[in-house]
């Protein structure tokens, strides 16, 4: 069996990349070609139009595609998550200074951010915050962070910046902050332009991140792929393999980023400010076999967040169509 799997180069594509590069797919008798794409929209379109068999995709975007809310009509299934958490909100050093939160704790940071968002909105210069795609946990986490501090997403200018351009955008003052996945927050801190203000895992601990999304007609042929994915995820979740994994991901073929920054993300040993402040967060980004499981309530969470972001009008009506999308049973069936 020969498959084309798409991905966006990010730390949480580890299991998909290792599936191929670690020989796990070959051991199942499969030939898998990895296709790196520069945007989530292109992954979604190629998957919907049958140019890819599967993809590492933002869970909300995959669901939106399946529901007909985004891109060409598609019938998709998601048998597994690919990682847990891994996002963070990074702000410019100027914004962090202006926020001056009472502490680094989430409620203080959220209050300081929401207060500043309100001041800037009132002054006619709304804060500009970036996400990675409208249909993403990143968008919803920004909304939740502001809500936690008593603010609203409507009071900021929400834009999308491709993660590899976040550092330059922050440096040039085109944006005030962003929510992206690993390793791009660490890259901004290492470049001396950003301060990690909040971790996704603190804002929404169980939120679905990327999922392995397959064309629905792959269902009957998914078992060998899912067995290989389990083996690859186990390998990725083993701390002794992290230095090798960081080198693999950091290589030019994939992320083209300093492997040490990737490794610190895997270990949850994050430098949060250019002054060297470090924060230990072992669950910042979780890889491994357990991270493949899709928690019950995942679909509901996404539908409710879509509705809160005014991307979906009627949650109850969408529930039926969403029911067949998450297929943890397919993963559970192959051991």
């Amino acid at each position: 069996m020969r498959l084309q799997l798409g991905y966006v180069p990010l730390t949480d594509a580890a299991a998909v990349i290792a599936l191929v590069e670690g020989g796990f797919a070959a051991r199942e008798g499969m030939r898998v070609d990895l296709v790196a794409e520069p945007s989530w929209a292109t992954l979604r379109d190629k998957l919907a139009l049958g140019l890819l068999d599967g993809a590492h995709l933002l869970a909300p975007l995959a669901l939106a595609s399946h529901l007909g809310l985004s891109g060409p009509p598609a019938r998709l299934i998601a048998p597994a998550a690919l990682a847990r958490n891994g996002n963070a909100v990074t702000v410019s050093l100027a914004l962090w200074q202006a926020m001056a939160p009472a502490s680094d704790a989430l409620p203080d940071v959220a209050r300081a951010l929401a207060r500043l968002a309100e001041t800037r909105f009132a002054a006619g210069r709304p804060l500009c915050l970036a996400t990675v795609h409208p249909f993403s946990s990143h968008t919803y986490q920004l909304g939740r962070l502001l809500a936690l501090g008593g603010g609203r997403l409507d009071l900021v200018r929400l834009v999308v910046v491709p993660p590899p351009r976040t550092v330059e955008s922050l440096r040039r003052g085109l944006i005030d902050g962003f929510c992206v996945g690993a390793p791009w927050n660490s890259v901004a801190v290492a470049a001396g332009v950003g301060r990690i203000a909040a971790l996704g895992v603190d804002i929404a601990p169980a939120c679905p991140e990327k999922v392995l999304t397959l064309a629905a007609e792959m269902e009957e042929r998914a078992a060998p792929l899912l067995r290989a994915l389990k083996a690859a995820a186990r390998w990725c979740g083993t701390p002794e393999h992290w230095p090798d994994l960081a080198r693999l991901l950091g290589g030019r073929r994939h992320l083209d980023v300093d492997p040490d920054l990737i490794l610190r993300g895997l270990r949850g040993d994050l430098q949060v400010a250019p002054d060297g402040s470090v924060r230990a967060a072992p669950d910042y980004l979780v890889l491994g076999e357990d991270a493949l499981s899709l928690e019950p309530g995942t679909a509901t969470w996404m539908l409710e967040e879509m509705a809160a972001a005014r991307q979906l009008a009627d949650v109850a009506a969408a529930r039926g169509a969403a029911a067949g999308f998450l297929r943890p049973d397919l993963l559970a069936a192959c051991d």
């Binding site: 929209a41 140019l51 809310l69 409208p134 979906l312 009008a313």
Partner: protein, 206 residues
């Protein structure tokens, strides 16, 4: 007496239309721009695919954005135009989402388009058609150019190998070529591979 309450007339097909072209390849963008200039009433603006794309697009406020699939900025457009039908100015991609063959042709050619709502299908279809034609033609040209380049490089390599054989073994040009061809046929390899081996060996042996 004119009825003051009547709605403003529908926009005529000749009305101005601003098309933005975003492409990481400047050469390809130029080819597309030239093609789109033939669309009646269209103003075509090429916007560099750089970090300040968003500000430039906001300032231009185009009716249509044609963007290459290789651009990381597609996600930015999805936010900017609003993918949801609930927002004020929703966007239709490829005019009609049920027009799957057209989407397929566009994606095969490497393009995507974002269109503000209210633009009529008959105004958008020619734009997409031109973009598909131009991108396919560009890809073909590029392929031909690559082939021509590699053919030229092959010929140069074979000439060098021929020269080496002629000097080392005192052969005529024809005889040197015949020997390389025979070796290639016997080993089921391309003559350029044999030539490369000769050149490499000669380089190593000084």
């Amino acid at each position: 007496m004119p009825d003051l309450a009547s709605p403003s007339p529908l926009p005529s097909p000749e009305q101005h239309l601003t098309i933005a072209v975003v492409d990481p390849s400047r050469a390809r963008a130029a080819v597309l721009e030239e093609g789109l200039r033939t669309v009646e009433g269209a103003r075509v603006v090429v916007i560099p695919d750089t970090v300040d794309l968003l500000d430039r697009l906001s300032a231009l406020s185009p009716d249509v954005v044609v963007i290459h699939l290789e651009s990381p900025s597609r996600d930015l457009l999805e936010q900017m135009f609003g993918v949801s039908r609930l927002v004020e100015r929703p966007v239709a991609m490829f005019v009609d989402r049920s027009d799957v063959p057209m989407m397929q042709a566009a994606v095969d050619a490497g393009i995507s388009a974002y269109v503000v709502d209210g633009l009529k299908a008959e105004r958008i279809k020619p734009i997409i058609d031109i973009a598909i034609l131009r991108f396919n033609a560009f890809a073909r040209l590029q392929r031909e150019l690559t082939e021509a380049r590699s053919e030229l490089a092959d010929r140069k390599l074979i000439d060098r190998a021929k020269g080496i054989l002629m000097t080392a073994r005192g052969l005529s040009e024809d005889e040197a070529y015949r020997q390389m061809r025979r070796k290639a046929m016997n080993e089921k390899r391309k003559i350029v591979d044999i030539a490369r081996a000769i050149v490499t060996a000669a380089d190593l042996l000084g």
